[in-house]
Amino acid sequence: MKERENEFLKSLFKKYYFDYIDKIPVPDALYEREFGYQKFDGVGAMIRHIQIADAGEFKAFLMGNAPSDVYCSNGYYSFPALPLKEKDWQGADLIFDIDAKDLELPCRKKHVLGVCEPCCRSMTGNPDGTTTAAVCDGCGGSESKMRKKSLPCKPCMQAAKKQVRGLVDILCRDLGVSPGEIKTYFSGNEGFHLHVAHDAFRVLGRQERSDLADYIMLKGLVPETMGMSKIRPDKNGFADLHEGGWRGRFAKAAFGSKTKRASIISGLVKSPDAGYVEFQKMMDDAAARIGIQIDPGVSMDVHRIFRMPFTLNSKSGMQKAPCPDVDAFDPYTAAVVLDSDSVAHVVADCPVRFGLGGRRFGPYKAETVELPAYAAAYMICKGFARMA
């Protein structure tokens, strides 16, 4: 299955690791980490529990295995190569995953494709952008063979960046992390990964991290925290715009201005019973708007093997690229690192036009085209192109 495509990708990825090997930083505490990888022909199987001794071995690991994806644990272990229960966990970096797909922007229906796995036919169409036609109009295959694939989208990236900025702000201002302890990366597909190496957080377990994630997402808030109570609420106890932490952010989002704040609060305290219910709604609404959309499962995990920085993501052929300046970062040029000099011939099918590596592509109607290798790889990774 897809042998030629796999061969093509494998050689391109290999070339990347060969050319870039000296630019890929060796993770710190190398010997205490667990590594893992997947292969192009390995039907997704994860090879893990790998321990790497030194920089030389690290280079050999990346160049020798021709991996489709490479992972490195956020955890530190005494014996990374042993089974989980015997690894002797020593701590873990705090990690965050912000994914544009969780933000559910309206633009998604325009750039999320249903791609038929066997025949590479792609289609948009359903207004909610979630599901596609019941059968493939290329091969008549069933819906179960359809995969959702998202094309590059600037508004989605802008929204994800906003989440990153909010997260960094909370980490630094509320939680006492210093900016130098945070490393931000483009995930290589549709979002951002943050690695936080803050010593005090290293020992936190799953449950503590879950509470931390709830804080960041503004989940589990009770009205009393923002100043509302059922019995004789105190006007002076309400969150105010100038305050720090969530109280300040909430006041800005829920009240808007000083004058509006005063009038809303007067209304609330007049009838505390109804006010309490109303306030709860205001809170839920604010939480949805200003809570940071992280994937809590990732942040809770102390044993995750997480995509390694500077490696390639086989969902797109793009790099998990560092973003020292998130605002200025353009993933669709900065993370495009595969060969742009050579060309490849592919049969592509894509109803929308998209930009990548400074060029525009598509739309294609099941046609054979000559493309720069990086773009061919992108489309093959996404599943709507095959080798001609």
Partner: protein, 386 residues
């Protein structure tokens, strides 16, 4: 606003005395001025190492307590101190507002604690250790709160902060009338609390610190006091039987036997159940929903009520009659309607779920372990070539 509140870096890492801000005690810190542990402090916190040598310092030997009729008062008080703990009522201290009325009272407070430990060591029963540590920690909690919030006498709040640091490893930073706990410490200590107010999101968080009132700050670390006192008792050597103590020790053993839950934790309980048992054992408050889960789970597993009831004994609001009544009700003995153990989903929403990988794929705690067993069976069959 934040910056003026927080300690300067030197202060935090305590690299040297910073004018007007000391004394600031840090474990192993050379430049910190040692606080003097006076008799008042020894009476309030008799588990401190400084109080440990009090008997010898005052020129008493243990044997004298067994025979001397004058010292008998102290032994009786020590016995009462333990019995109060077994009843779950906090030992009524003779200290008024954290101060003793006279030297005699102070001596009594310290002696009775130390002799109580001797009695407990002689009785050699874990239930006594647990109960005693729990109650003494509640007693100390009250004093610590008072000391920590003393804004007149800085040495008292410094002492409280030192004790908290020694016992829990947590450095409480005091800034005006605010008490700051580092985020990571807060998360670790608040883990076993279920009330929503303890969730991080419902706290004031600023610059890496949680801002708490003194009572909450002490409440946060109380469980470490229990651990601390327990380990102090466990670590102290078992003395030879002291002539004159035999009867009291026998009575303590009998009381401990009566109180010991016969229920044996099997180890195949799901994490939520194990957690609930641990919370109760530590004398922490388990919310109603948690008690409901624990009781219905054990009832469904076929545990008799008589074995379940003792689990709740350490709860702060324990009442034997009410507990028995409620258990019978849940078991359906009253109405014929048996209550089911709540689903994992429900427990997750209630904050009672502590899922591990072994919980994968189950929807009710009662299924825990069964799936694993089933998968094991399949593997075994496959191995057998079937």
């Amino acid at each position: 606003m934040v910056d003026t509140l927080l300690p300067t870096p030197e202060w935090r890492s305590c690299n040297g005395p910073v004018s007007g801000r000391g004394p600031f005690i840090y474990a192993g810190c050379q430049s910190c001025i040692m606080l003097h542990v006076g008799k008042d402090e020894k009476a309030k916190y008799p588990f401190l190492p400084e109080a440990g040598k009090f008997l010898q310092d005052q020129g008493f030997s243990l044997a004298e307590f067994g025979t001397d009729p004058v010292l008998k008062v102290i032994v009786d008080k020590a016995y009462e101190r333990i019995m109060a703990a077994t009843r779950g009522s906090v030992y009524r201290s003779a200290l008024v507002g954290g101060k003793a009325t006279g030297d005699h009272t102070l001596n009594m407070e310290i002696f009775s604690f130390l002799i109580a430990i001797v009695l407990i060591k002689l009785a050699n029963h874990n239930t006594l250790v647990q109960r005693f540590a729990l109650n003494e920690s509640r007693r100390a909690e009250a004093f610590l709160t008072g000391d920590l919030s003393d804004t007149q006498d800085r040495s008292r709040s410094d002492m409280a902060r030192r004790i908290i640091h020694d016992v829990s490893g947590t450095q409480v930073v005091q800034s005006n009338h605010r008490y700051l706990i580092p985020v990571a410490d807060y998360l670790i200590h608040s883990k076993s609390f279920h009330e929503r107010e303890w969730k991080l999101v419902n706290r004031e968080v600023d610059g890496g610190y949680i801002i708490l009132k003194p009572d909450k700050a002490v409440r946060l670390v109380r469980h470490t006091l229990v651990t601390y006192i327990t380990s102090r008792i466990n670590k102290s050597p078992v003395p030879e039987m002291i002539p004159g103590f035999e009867v009291m020790v026998a009575q303590l053993v009998a009381e401990a036997e009566r109180l010991t839950p016969k229920y044996v934790v099997t180890g195949v309980n799901p994490p939520c159940v194990e957690h609930a048992i641990k919370v109760l054992e530590g004398g922490e408050n388990l919310p109603h929903s948690g008690r409901f889960m624990l009781a219905t789970f054990l009832l469904s597993r076929g545990k008799p009520i008589a074995e379940i009831a003792p689990l709740f004994r350490n709860a702060p609001d324990y009442n034997e009659r009410i507990t028995m009544y409620q258990l019978k009700h849940l078991a359906g003995e009253k109405t014929g309607t048996k209550y089911m153990c709540p689903s994992c989903n429900k427990l997750r929403i209630q904050g009672l779920c502590f899922a591990t990988e072994e919980c994968d794929g189950i929807t009710n705690p009662l299924q825990f372990g069964r799936r694993r067993m089933a998968a094991g069976d399949v593997a075994a069959q496959e191995a057998a070539g079937r």
